[in-house]
Amino acid sequence: MNERINFFWFSNYLALVSKTHCILVLVGISLSILQFILIRDFVAILYGEEITIAIVSAAFFVGISIGYLISRKLSQLNFERLFIGSLFLHLTFPFSYRYLAAWISQLPYSGILLIFWLLLFACLFTAVFAIFLPRLVHGKIESKQQNKSKEVQEFRLKLFYTLELVGFILGFFIIISSWNKSLDYLLPIYWFLLLILLLLVTRNYKISAVFFIIACVAISFLTQTDKLSTAALYKYKHKYKLKVEVLHSVNSAYQKIEVIKVGKFAKFLYLNGLRNLDSRKLEYLNYYIAKLPAIILEPKKVLIIGNGTLSSVERIQLFSDKIVSVELDQGVLDAGILHYVDIKKLRNIKKWTLFVEDGKYYLANTKEKYDLIIMDVPAPLTIQVAYLHSVEFYKLVKKRLTANGVLSVQIAGKIRANNAMPAQIVKTLSQVFPKILVITSQRAGRSFAYSSKKMPFTINEIKNTVSHFESEQLKIILPNKIKNFVSKARIISKDNMNIILRYGWYRLKSRYFK
């Protein structure tokens, strides 16, 4: 009899232990996926400068802190209510927070309200997962099996925290499988995991069945809700007056990538909510950054760093013998191939090679020298991109240029005397290259810098070449005049990237706290 009781107790204990183990692994996976979805989406909604990324990440951790704070103060009933409520709210992903953000952005004091919105959602969704670990360590959930001895609790802490971390790592691999795919791949997996979690925690089949049915309905409309809510966000938060259509929306390994069609013709590429490309200006951008120097130099070898849309490759193929493109983000390449270039034409360019690689790593490890290096990367609003505008990076570029080689850079705006971003980029270039020539094109809506060890090209060469394209509105700053524009500008370097903070804060303030 005793043996039977012991066996019964043991099997019950085993069942309980395995259930708790599963719960903690699932909590870890859920936290991992949730962190990815929320941070990516919230950063894109609030526009992805480094300062925004820091604020959104902090909000996620505030949610976790709140979860820890209330973990042992909640009764089992209140915990289950909160847990069930929060899990059902997860089924409103991604439209609930997007529509709310779009609506808030129309209101006065939208900055303060958006911060409140961010914290509210971070708490509603994140806190509930942080409640588990401390409660389980202290045996609060499995009240019948409570064991308050010090050794048991310490063992639980070790085991349970390990399981949660294992879950977090597993979640990481699920996220990797979702890269360059839209949310309608990751969300159903996430909801399925939440369903199992709901079943394990509440053991309530009715509630779980309701969750399952709502999840099935939500999944069947997910593609539409994802696109419609994104379109609403762009229409109201980015304040587009014409019809907005979402052509492409994926999360890559590095950022959220969206291609938005506004009106009948304009196609915008957004990276983490920041406008990277306007199809109407693409021709001008590619002309000044790539085609113009290629026509004048007729380079044997050209290296293009960035330019994920690959749209400049076609423009320069007639003028060069070998073209190498290096782009970090496969997701941007996919968006470019789908919406900005004709891949069949590109594949026929035999002299062109593409590397999906980090630009600085490529430059440091290649032995090739190039006659023209084109840097088509976004404005330095994050640490990663700011490095691509730093003295250290430009020194790497200089090493890979031939004696008459030229570096062509778009400088994230029109240069004015000591203005924040363009002047800082040109000042940084001036620390590495003796000769810099800057062109400001009204049509492209920005300035371009051409840097070299010698004078890149003469003013006549530029005027003769550009005359067929844009002549009246062009402003040219010659190397000897550059100093007047950058005398007070700061240099971007590995030791000073405060451009990220200064400009990020300025943009955040002007956007939300006018």
Binding site: E50, I51, I53, A54, S57, A58, F61, V62, I64, S65, Y68, L69, S71, R72, A130, L133, P134, V137, H138, K150, Q153, E154, L157, K158, Y161, T162, L165, V166, F168, I169, F172, I176, W179, A253, Y254, L328, E357, D358, K360, Y361, A364, N365, I383, Q384, Y387, S493, K494, D495, N496, M497, N498, I500, L501
Partner: protein
């Protein structure tokens, strides 16, 4: 109790600064690809798991190992920048630094017996560390990566000394 809470916050701050500094260090000096991020996150978590179960390790040894590993990786990537092989060794460094993060929870849970307080304050520190690192790195760049973790370690040691000297009963 207040000193313990403060200490847990500072330790969270230290872990956050070290982890993010590793990430920035490797991102700038090795590669910006997702592999770098993966290596830092996964190696750190494995380090925590090792620290949770390595009972014979003393707190002093765990903390010294954490700091030494960071500065060895700093030295390695400074001497040999933009070489992918350094990432392999760096992953061990991250793992070793993460051991203290796991060991800390076991060491202080046996004293406090309150997992919620422990996690809450450590997490608050981690949150502060994220902001501190982003701001610190933006302002001081590489110098922050060199001195930031050290300053946080000094802050921790000072708090520990004050705790031992003035509030031994806690």
């Amino acid at each position: 109790m207040i000193w313990y809470k403060l200490y847990f916050t500072f330790i969270g701050l230290y872990f956050s600064v070290v982890q993010l500094s590793y990430f920035l260090l490797l991102q700038l000096n090795v590669s910006s690809t997702y592999i770098t991020y993966m290596v830092v996150v996964i190696a750190w978590m494995i380090g925590i798991i090792v620290g949770l179960w390595w009972t014979k390790l003393s707190t002093l040894a765990a903390s010294v190992l954490s700091g030494v590993a960071y500065y060895l990786v700093f030295l390695l990537v400074s001497v040999s920048p933009l070489s992918m092989w350094t990432l392999f060794f760096a992953s061990f460094g991250v793992l070793i630094s993460g051991i203290w993060a796991g060991h800390f929870f076991v060491a202080y849970f046996s004293k406090m017996q309150q997992a919620d307080i422990l996690f809450f304050h450590e997490n608050n520190g981690f949150l502060l560390g994220i902001l501190f690192t982003i701001f610190g790195f933006s302002m001081h760049g590489n110098n922050f990566l060199l001195w930031g973790p050290l300053y946080c370690a000094i802050l921790l040691i000072s708090t520990q000394v004050i705790m031992k000297t003035y509030v031994p009963q806690e």
